[in-house]
């Protein structure tokens, strides 16, 4: 089996190497990829969309239809993880042993099945795989997470002028929530950003994107032609395309952030949402 795999990989690699003879050299300014539609984007994007970052202009405006369905792919991947993994209710193989920590003293209580759960804010439910307090990790993440989220919002909002946009900012925001879930525990992260919130945000992001396109239709322009939104924003057609890109990027950021968090919740806890990593 290994020999067959090695032989087929070598054969495939050799064929591909011969194929590169037809390819343009590395860094060739006249390569086919750089000579048809790409010069037009570079020369006209700034005048047509008022977004200096050409990547953002092409992503959300010229190729907006493509990006809409890429966002839909991310959404459906998150949905697929949810439907495949999520198990509701208690685990019957492991009876529900509940562990609580008394916060002022640090003493851990075990509540047997059928036992009474302490109803006091001084008790915090903890995972069965007991992880001791780690003051350094918890404090560092608590300090750093607000700045990560601020940076994520900056990357989304400043995508017109600097490298950034909805996908990158959304992943940074999602990473901040995942960092919180890793450093504290899954239960606390679910308390901050619940399953329903991430599901609704994920759908809302795709809805904002598709809704912006549909709004253009209602205003009499083509689907995702943001210059039709000019009367709504009260600006000229070129500025309206710039603002339309921002609306769409916010939708993408929302969808990507909650998709990452949602996939993490389901994968880390094997769909039980009781005890995570």
């Amino acid at each position: 089996m290994k020999l067959v795999a090695l032989a087929s990989a070598l054969l495939c690699g050799t064929i591909l190497l011969f194929g590169t003879a037809e390819f343009p050299d590395f860094g060739d300014p006249d390569s086919p990829a750089a000579s048809h539609v790409s010069p037009r984007y570079i020369e006209e994007a700034m005048a047509e969309t008022s977004a200096p970052n050409i990547v953002t202009a092409v992503l959300a405006d010229y190729r907006g239809f493509d990006t809409l369905f890429e966002t839909a792919v991310v959404f459906s991947a998150a949905m697929a993880c949810f439907f495949l993994l999520r198990i509701f209710g208690e685990d019957e193989r492991r009876p529900s042993e509940k562990l609580y920590r008394h916060l002022p003293t640090g003493i851990t209580l075990r509540i047997d099945p059928g036992g009474k759960v302490p109803d006091s804010p001084e008790f915090e439910r903890i995972d069965g795989i007991w992880i001791p307090h780690d003051v350094i990790v918890k404090t560092t993440t608590r300090l750093i997470i607000p700045f990560i989220q601020l940076f994520g919002l900056y990357v989304i909002a400043h995508g017109h002028h600097s490298p950034g946009g909805g996908f990158q900012g959304g992943v940074i925001l999602g990473a901040s929530v995942i960092l919180y879930a890793i450093s504290q525990n899954l239960r606390q992260a679910l308390g901050r950003m619940g399953e329903a919130v991430s599901a609704v945000f994920c759908a809302a992001g795709v809805f904002i994107y598709a809704g912006a396109g549909a709004l253009c239709l209602l205003m009499g322009a083509n689907f995702l032609d943001y210059s039709g939104l000019a009367p709504l924003f009260g600006v000229d057609a070129i500025q309206a395309r710039s603002l339309g890109i921002l609306v769409v990027e916010i939708g993408v950021g929302l969808a990507v952030m909650s998709a990452m968090v949602w996939i993490y919740y389901n994968l880390a806890s094997m769909g039980r949402h009781q005890e995570g990593l």
Binding site: A5, A9, G13, D25, P29, A33, S50, M270
Partner: protein, 139 residues
């Protein structure tokens, strides 16, 4: 010989991606563990992403695809020349492909988790043994 050296020096980027891609392909075929197969798939995807990004490069001092001094509002009077900026199109395509590959990686890991729940192992031959035992000899 000098022709071969020219060929290699001009196109060494493709050689690197083909090497990376073949590592991924080999892992997907030869490895028996499903998690290792998924890692191989990710290496394969990375090779394709790097290939696309390298096609965007332009020699001769081309900059990143953000118009220099292009901020401000309304119509810009800067006439951007195509030779001054690298090709933005592969960057756009790969930007979405990276996020989609992370999302599909999540789905692949989810399926691996389900397989592990069903058969108690991620090794391909052991899974095949258990299926054979369940169906009574039929593979």
């Amino acid at each position: 010989m000098s022709e071969f050296i020219d060929f290699f020096v001009g196109k060494y980027n493709y050689w690197a991606f083909i090497l990376l891609m073949m590592i991924g392909l080999y892992a997907m075929i030869a490895k028996k563990n499903l998690a290792k197969k998924i890692i191989g798939m990710n290496i394969f995807q990375t090779a394709i992403i790097l290939f696309y990004i390298s096609t965007a490069a332009k020699g001769g001092g081309a900059s990143i695809p953000i118009i220099a001094h292009g901020h401000g509002h309304g119509l810009s009077e800067h006439g951007a020349r195509a030779a001054d900026y690298i090709n933005p199109l592969p960057h756009v395509l790969m930007l979405t492909a990276i996020v989609v590959s992370v999302a599909t990686l999540g789905v692949a890991l989810t399926l691996a988790v389900k397989v592990y729940h069903q058969y108690g192992t991620l090794e391909e031959d052991e899974i095949a043994d258990r299926i054979r035992a369940q169906t009574g000899g039929e593979p």
